[in-house]
Symmetry: C2
Subunit: 308 residues, 2 copies
């Protein structure tokens, strides 16, 4: 019987590691041109909104096909479905918002694994929402973290974030009163805000830092400025083509930096340069590589299907 998973089935903290390994395989498939990820497909329902489909999968030894669909009518229900191509079987369906958050977190985790200093111990987090949570969980899955500092403008929210994540990850998480204080001595910086103006500056960061930017990054608004791109020895993204497909240009467009932006898949496959020295600043611009929801959903269905 087709397995159906909902948000409440995806609370197991071990699923982040599952999602990260699935993403590793997806990025390697991408480097080998086996990741299927055509452009999004929109269908409009008058002036009420659209259904938006990301259809994709992976070819190779264990081919997968599937899709994610969400709507712009104002709700939050998403559907991700996965078929195992070899036996033409609908493996399952994942409903809700949690898979998308796990997926984006796991993309950040893969970037941190391949770009941050191997001995990174401390994280500075900007933002206290669902994305900040899953990025920190992903960082903790790929590095032996000892401590984190979090800043977000609302004192109650950053305190709640710190308490919850300290308990969830077994790591010291301290709320602090400014963005600068949060990133001050951090080996890894996670920026997961909704800010449309830069929240930190290059001078706030220590040498050798790795930065994930998950929030706004178009010319209409960006949470990190060009000074950080100027300081970065390596700039990478999960999907260079998606950075060119936004309605508003990517924040690096016209800066010269966009031409040296590397595909994370190519860095992983050894086809593009990664971190070269302990002093290098590395910057990862997360855009949400299409087709990866299906790969993560498949891995989670395998794990939860077997234990159910």
């Amino acid at each position: 019987m087709t397995k159906i998973l909902r948000d409440e089935d995806l609370n197991d903290s071990g699923l982040m590691a599952v999602a990260i390994e699935a993403l590793e395989a997806a990025f390697l498939a991408r480097a080998g041109h086996r990741l299927i990820a055509p452009p999004r497909h929109h269908v409009s329902f008058g002036d009420r909104g659209d259904l938006v489909f990301t259809i994709g999968g992976i070819l190779g030894e264990t081919p997968l096909a599937g899709f994610r669909v969400y709507e712009t009518f104002g709700g939050a229900d998403q559907i991700v479905a996965v078929w195992s191509v070899d036996d033409a079987r609908l493996k399952g369906i994942v409903l809700g918002e949690r898979l998308g958050s796990l997926r984006t977190g796991a993309i950040g985790g893969v970037a941190i694994r391949h770009l941050s200093a191997p001995d990174a111990r401390s994280v500075g987090i900007l933002g206290s929402g669902a994305q900040a949570r899953s990025q920190l969980a992903a960082a903790a899955a790929v590095r032996k973290l000892e401590r984190a500092r979090v800043f977000s403008p609302n004192e109650n929210r950053r305190a709640a974030f710190a308490e919850e994540m300290e308990r969830a990850l077994g790591l010291e998480v301290v709320p602090v009163g400014s963005a600068r204080e949060a990133v001050d001595d951090a080996d890894i910086v996670i920026s997961a805000t909704t800010s449309r103006t830069p929240v930190i500056h290059a001078a706030d960061l220590k040498p050798g830092v790795h930065i994930n930017t998950v929030g706004p990054k178009t010319r209409d608004g960006y949470e990190l400025g060009l000074d950080i791109a100027d300081a970065a020895a390596v700039i990478a993204t999960d999907s260079p083509e998606q950075t060119s497909a936004y309605a508003s240009p990517f924040f690096l467009a016209g800066s010269g930096h966009e031409h040296r932006m590397a595909d994370l898949a190519d860095i992983m496959a050894g086809r593009a340069g990664g971190r070269g020295s302990p002093e290098d600043t590395t910057l990862f611009c997360s855009v949400g590589l299409a087709g990866t929801e299906v790969v993560v959903a498949s891995a989670i269905l395998d794990v939860l299907g077997a234990s159910a």
Copy 2:
């Protein structure tokens, strides 16, 4: 919580009437240009097959949006999902094959309601598969039937069909030894075969008969021939545009009849002529109007959601 229905949830014989009423509303929406049904969207997974999406819905007082997806990897699992647009809520998901069969049956039922003689009492059925079953159930939902005769080449299968449908519909169903015998004095003929050559001829039919053709009808193969189109006073279809979109031309292409083929929605809305006299032969060519799976799924989710 999002409702999930599977084939075994759709066994209630009352659902055909629900599906037919939903289709009535969908055809009227189509006549009023409120049915959203863009062309199918295919995504290929190498040489392994495609995912095929029919995305659509209905605008107006209670707008619906959704999609059906199936694959060509060799399996049979379909997914239909429906959103209520006004409150941006995922109403539910229907899995399996039964919804599609109910939908095609219900389209046939709407055609029979609007084209066959109001006092039609007898049905001749050609074919004994799932489609023949749902077409007969649909006919029984819209006309006061007294008897049916069924022919299909396999004697055991036609006997099983007759026994099962007699019990299910409370109506005399007799298996017979030839197609001609099945349609001989029938007021309604349902052709739901896989035959690529004509199974009956115009001379086999009585005046005033209504015919639904559900099986093959392209130039590559067709279960009914041009002689029946020649005899028909009215030729209708659920989707003139889909009859032009087959890889092989529609069986009427080039015969002259294709130009007088009417849209069933227009007949229902009084914009095209229907049955004019008791002696008229009427022919309905069922192609499976896109977007209607979503409308039927929505109605079924309403009914089963309320009783669950």
